[in-house]
């Protein structure tokens, strides 16, 4: 098991190393980068919007349920939503969902390309497939996923505001006051650091499993599942590591 893990890890590092070569045509690579930004960013927009709104709304309602002491002002609900969203809910939960959406898409796309010899066709043309197929995906995700996380943070707070005010838990002025209490800018920065790290993990791990698949449709499905599971586990490990190191 350990040798298997080390073999995978070594091959993963070699894959990353082989990505950094001069592209054959900058114009084609730029086009591919923007195409991936569209696929990863715009393709995941709706799921991020829906998840974020409901995350904020549910957290507001459940926090209000737990906040029973009359000594604690209701405006603290907004403070809790804000900090939970910035520190954990938006970056981690959203990225775990994106690991399923984006990660499985990348793994199955590359797996299908491998099985149908499209990657071999690119290699025979003299194209570095690591640089052409994998690097644009990783760069696109590093650029686009933090943008999605920022959007998620905004929508999560908005969802909490709507749920809190419409259900009478707190009024708008109380919610706005709570948002401003003891605001620590570093929390927002920390959430973005997580977003960058998780974005890299999601795409690089999924690309690894898809690129090196062997077999047919069954193996493509398995590699896609493995990509999502491994990405999620690594996200959670990185989540803990970053929290321990930076907070």
């Amino acid at each position: 098991m350990i040798t298997g893990f080390l073999a995978h890890f070594g091959r993963y590092l070699l894959m990353l190393k082989q990505m950094f070569r001069r592209p054959e045509s900058s114009k084609v690579y730029w086009k591919e980068l923007f195409h991936q930004c569209n696929e990863i960013g715009i393709g995941s927009l709706w799921i991020v919007i829906i998840i974020s709104l409901f995350l904020g709304a549910v957290t507001t309602v459940q926090t209000a349920y737990q906040l029973v002491s009359p000594l604690v002002g209701v405006e603290l609900i907004a403070t809790i939503i804000r900090d939970s969203t910035f520190l954990e809910l938006s970056p981690t939960v959203t990225c775990i969902v994106l690991a399923g959406v984006v990660g499985s898409k990348i793994a199955s796309e590359l797996g299908n390309m491998r099985v149908s010899e499209q990657i071999d066709a690119l290699e025979i043309m003299g194209i570095n497939t690591h640089t052409f197929l994998i690097l644009p995906k990783i760069l696109a995700s590093i650029f686009v996923i933090p943008c999605l996380i920022v959007l998620s943070m905004f929508l999560s707070i908005l969802g909490g505001y709507m749920a809190g005010t419409m259900s009478g838990i707190l009024n708008p002025a109380q919610f706005e006051m709570g948002l401003l209490i003891e605001f620590v800018p570093f929390n927002l920065f920390f959430g973005l650091i997580k977003a960058f790290v998780f974005a890299f993990l999601i795409t690089s791990v999924s690309a690894y499993f898809g690129y090196y698949v062997k077999g047919g449709a069954l193996q493509i499905g398995r590699s896609s599942t493995k990509a999502v599971v491994v990405s999620c586990v690594l996200i959670l490990l990185a989540d803990y590591a970053l929290a321990a190191l930076l907070l």
């Binding site: 114009k27 390309m113 149908s116 010899e117 066709a121 003299g126």
Partner: protein
Amino acid sequence: MYKSQMNLIIGTSGSGKSVFMKCMIGLIKPEKGQILYEGKDILEMDKDEKKELRKNIGMLFQGSALFDSMSVENNIRFPLDMFTDYSLKEKRKIVNDVLARVNIEDANKKFPAEISGGMQKRVALARAIVLKPKFLFVDEPNSGLDPKTSLVIDKLIMDLTQEYEITTIVNTHDMNTVLESGDHILYLDQGRRGWEGTNKEIIFSDNQRLNDFIFASDFLRDAKEKRMSELQSSEIQ
């Protein structure tokens, strides 16, 4: 392999044809031996030399290997985008000329999933020759095609070989291809050279394993006898 000729590699399943072809194009590293391209061993080339060589190699895969996310036009234009500085207008003209050469019309905007197997093969062939390579490798061009379409593909490959003066190497199981278009045939037997010759010499070969492979059916054996007597009588005349 012989320049501007159809070089065929034949053999039973598992004889090593695909592995042999992958070694020739550098996808697999052989355990020993040399693979010489115009006198230079591909195994001793550095990355840049290999890259330059690969620009002169075109390949038609068994499953066509067209890029699913690109249209027919973009599939064929892809090597031009990667390796040339032509303007968009020039590239479109080259693509249209190559599509006309492989007898495809009005399919530029279609995607690979929207065209038939025969058309996919022709698009893949167009992509393989768009940069006018010196070497064309073809892996089982007739697999999955009906006999009539197979003949069309075979003729197209033969015509392009002569027109573009390409060295074409074909892996095939198709006996029509072997007997009709094999300028130079290599029979692999359990990974080794079993027989080598032309499509005319193959009829007169006394290699038992080769004969059992090529003329497996009674029909083909009878056809062989008939052909042998025709050729012998035409030689006498």
